[in-house]
């Protein structure tokens, strides 16, 4: 079953087209990476999904129906730009947000206490956000997003500003939700997170969809155009006619080949130069490279 279906959705603000002919689907129980550079139209698309704005053209279905206030109740939305009431106690805010989603006050408070404990914030329930660190506020915001036990979650940059420990805690919460059959749209600029967590992705740039499908297929479609190389000696053989981009790491170099280049040619030149090659591996490109390549390509076309 598809939890989200966008069909040919377009949204304009006066002459500016924020989203152009966008289509994608999100399957139930999956984590969907919604990617794109700043200003690509992600926030506008997400706002249409949660019924903050309506599309000018096209169809949107969430949980099988056009988005209505009833459907809204079953969505949890953590916007990129988010906040809390500065002078309201944490537990009161959580109850307020859950009330707005139709959860009765008593039940909301019970759940709030449960989640505050789970995210190690139990001591802070009667504090106000002014007294808390950014990371803590972030966790409170996540709790507010899931307190009404939504079937479908939209998390926009949920990890920004979190320390590794908190980020890990949060990642487990998200994976846990997936286990329980919830569906997640996950928008971030951190590609490693996407590689670790997402089943499917959609990449948009300049209002249009650039890439889409399962993460595996997307990567496969780019072919094995990346070489992991560990060598000792002069790097003079890595010339621009073969290498589009290279990244040096402590123990190896990651090389993105030019479109027509043959990987074997690199090996041949290295050997000819007398360079000692310890590791030579042909791999799929990282999502980070795919992102950059695709965005550059579409920017060049337009």
């Amino acid at each position: 079953m598809n939890v989200v279906e966008l069909r040919n959705v377009t949204k304009r603000f006066d002459e500016f087209i924020a989203v152009h002919d966008l289509s994608f689907t999100v399957k139930q129980g999956t984590i969907f990476g919604f990617l794109g550079p700043n200003g690509a139209g992600k926030t506008t698309s997400i706002r249409m999904l949660v019924n903050i704005t309506a599309p000018d053209e096209g169809d949107i279905k969430v949980l099988g129906e056009p988005v209505t206030p009833q459907i809204q109740q079953r969505i949890g939305y953590l916007p990129e730009e988010r906040g809390l009431y500065k002078k309201m106690k944490v537990v009161e805010q959580l109850v307020f947000f859950a009330n707005l989603k139709g959860v009765p006050a008593k039940e909301a408070e019970r759940r709030a206490n449960h989640w505050l404990a789970r995210l190690e914030l139990a001591d802070w329930k009667n504090k106000t956000p002014v007294e808390m660190s950014k990371g803590m506020q972030q966790k409170v915001q996540l709790i507010a997003t899931i307190l009404h036990e939504p079937d479908f979650l939209i998390l926009d940059e949920p990890f920004s500003g979190l320390d590794p420990v908190s980020a890990d805690l949060l990642k487990n919460v998200i994976l846990d939700l997936k286990q329980r059959g919830k569906t997640v749209i996950f928008s971030t600029h951190q590609m490693e997170q996407v590689e670790q967590m997402c089943d499917d992705i959609c990449l948009i740039n300049r209002s249009r969809k650039v890439l889409g499908g399962s993460l595996k297929e997307v990567k496969r479609s780019f072919g094995r155009n990346t070489v992991i190389l560990d060598f000792e000696g002069d790097d003079g053989f890595l010339t621009a006619d073969l290498v589009k981009r290279q990244k040096r790491f402590a123990n190896y170099t990651e090389i993105l080949l030019q479109d027509a280049a043959d990987a074997q040619e690199i090996l041949r030149r290295a050997v000819a130069l007398g360079v000692r090659v310890n590791r030579f591996e042909l791999v799929e490109p990282s999502l980070n490279d795919i992102f950059i390549e695709s965005v550059k390509k579409t920017n060049g076309e337009q």
Binding site: D14, Q73, R82, G83, Y85, K86
Partner: protein
């Protein structure tokens, strides 16, 4: 409805529990009340009794007797009815020879009056009829006793001067009989006490202040949600219109609570304070119930009209600093009646006053004032209210459209043309 209810509850509870509200609402009238009632309460505490040593250098025993008699009649009222403002006086005459140094004599009493707040001394100087310079010394020389004593001395000296002019007692009474001016309305009802324009002005100021304050509260509330970016989460759960109405109603209820507390204080004052004022020669204004109803109704309508406009300003700007400028046009509309009310007060029945008071933006203040001053015909008051209701509906409809777009817009303040575009957005 439920979601509006949730927003109303939050707006109301967080504000009513805030220190600012408690101080502004509960404490300020209590302080006012205390200031008014305290002298009376103090009198009641000290038993309302004064023991006064009269250091009499005038050499005129009859003068002392006259003053004493006058104050005895005050004491009789006190025995009759122990209440704030009523006092009992016991006078003891201490004859001071004309050649003695009165200050030196007086000094010997300073210790006594410093210790006991219900004791005092009074100096009646030489040749007091020609050159009256009586002096009163007490620990609390500013209390209610002074007025009573002053009236007694003044009346007695006047009488005695007239007696010196060889007037008989009957003649004195005849010539010094005070004149009392009675004021009537066309129905032939006598109107006593505080002039109606004063009541009108007080009501006008109250409505002006509260609609302005609460309007600005609404604006701040909108800016807070926008600035802290809570609003995007909110409107993924609730329609912007419901959010706006919830805020307007919630904060409006805070205002009504404040009014209720004030009305209760006013009632307390009229119950406990009337007799005290009466003894001071002041009548507590009698405010008809219908005025109070209009007062509350005009507050509610005025609040909704102005607060909705302030909500629009809040939605248009990104920070409190921006709001300072953006709110000017709205604040002008709110303040304008303050520049016009003098005209209405001088001539409350003129065509100009009538027309001004019927304009929806001025009605809450100016019509309220006219109600207090001239009993305008019912159709005018009801007409002004209906006009306001229609205006409020139109303003809410328009502002809702701007609000819906504005709360998600950050950065530069929109121009009028952009506002027009916002209104037309789907």
């Amino acid at each position: 409805m439920n979601k509006i209810g949730v927003v109303i509850k939050r707006e109301y509870m967080t504000r009513v529990r805030s220190k600012a509200f408690i101080i502004g609402t509960v404490l300020s009238p209590l302080i006012l009340l205390a200031l008014i009632l305290l002298p009376g309460l103090l009198t009641a505490k000290s038993g309302g009794e004064r023991h006064i040593y009269v250091l009499d250098q005038s050499g005129d025993a009859a003068l002392f007797e006259g003053i004493k008699n006058r104050l005895d009649s005050t004491s009789a009222t006190f025995d009759n009815k122990r209440q704030f403002g009523n006092m009992r006086f016991t006078l003891v005459r201490v004859v001071v020879p004309p050649d003695a140094n009165i200050e030196a004599v007086a000094k010997t009493y300073n210790d006594t009056i410093a210790k006991k707040s219900n004791e005092a001394y009074l100096i009646l100087n030489k040749a007091i009829l020609e050159n009256p310079e009586p002096k009163y010394f007490a620990k609390n020389p500013g209390d209610l006793a002074v007025g009573n004593i002053e009236r007694a001395i003044s009346a007695e000296i006047t009488d005695r001067r007239l007696a010196q002019a060889k007037l008989s007692k009957a003649e004195i009474e005849k010539y010094t009989k005070p004149v009392e001016l009675k004021a009537f309305n066309p129905q032939g009802e006598e109107e006593k006490g505080v002039p109606r324009f004063v009541i009108g002005m007080v009501m006008l100021f109250f409505i002006y202040m509260t609609t302005l304050f609460y309007g600005i509260f609404v604006m701040r509330g909108v800016i807070e949600e926008k600035q802290s970016r809570i609003v995007e989460v909110l409107i993924s759960s609730i329609r912007p219109f419901d959010l706006m109405m919830g805020k307007l109603i919630g904060i409006g209820l805070v205002g009504l609570t404040q009014y209720l507390i004030w009305v209760l204080c006013a009632l307390a004052l009229s119950v406990f304070g009337v007799s005290m004022f009466a003894s001071q020669g002041v009548t507590v204004p009698h405010i008809p119930i219908s005025w109070l109803i209009y007062f509350v109704l005009f507050f509610i309508l005025g609040y909704f009209l102005f607060a909705t406009l302030y909500a629009m300003v809040g939605a248009m700007v990104s920070s409190e600093e921006d709001a300072q400028q953006a709110q000017m046009p709205v604040t002008m509309v709110v303040v304008l009646p303050m520049l016009l009310f003098g005209m209405v007060m001088a001539n409350p029945d003129s065509t100009l006053s009538t027309v001004l008071s019927m304009i929806p933006f001025f009605a809450p203040t100016l019509m309220m004032m006219r109600v207090a001053m001239v009993n305008p015909p019912m159709y005018q008051v009801v007409g002004a209210m209906l006009g306001m209701i229609v205006t409020i509906i139109a303003v809410v409809w328009l502002v809702a459209k701007i609000y819906r777009v504005g709360i998600l817009m950050y950065g530069k303040r929109p121009s009028i043309a952009e506002l027009g575009k916002w209104i037309r957005y789907r």
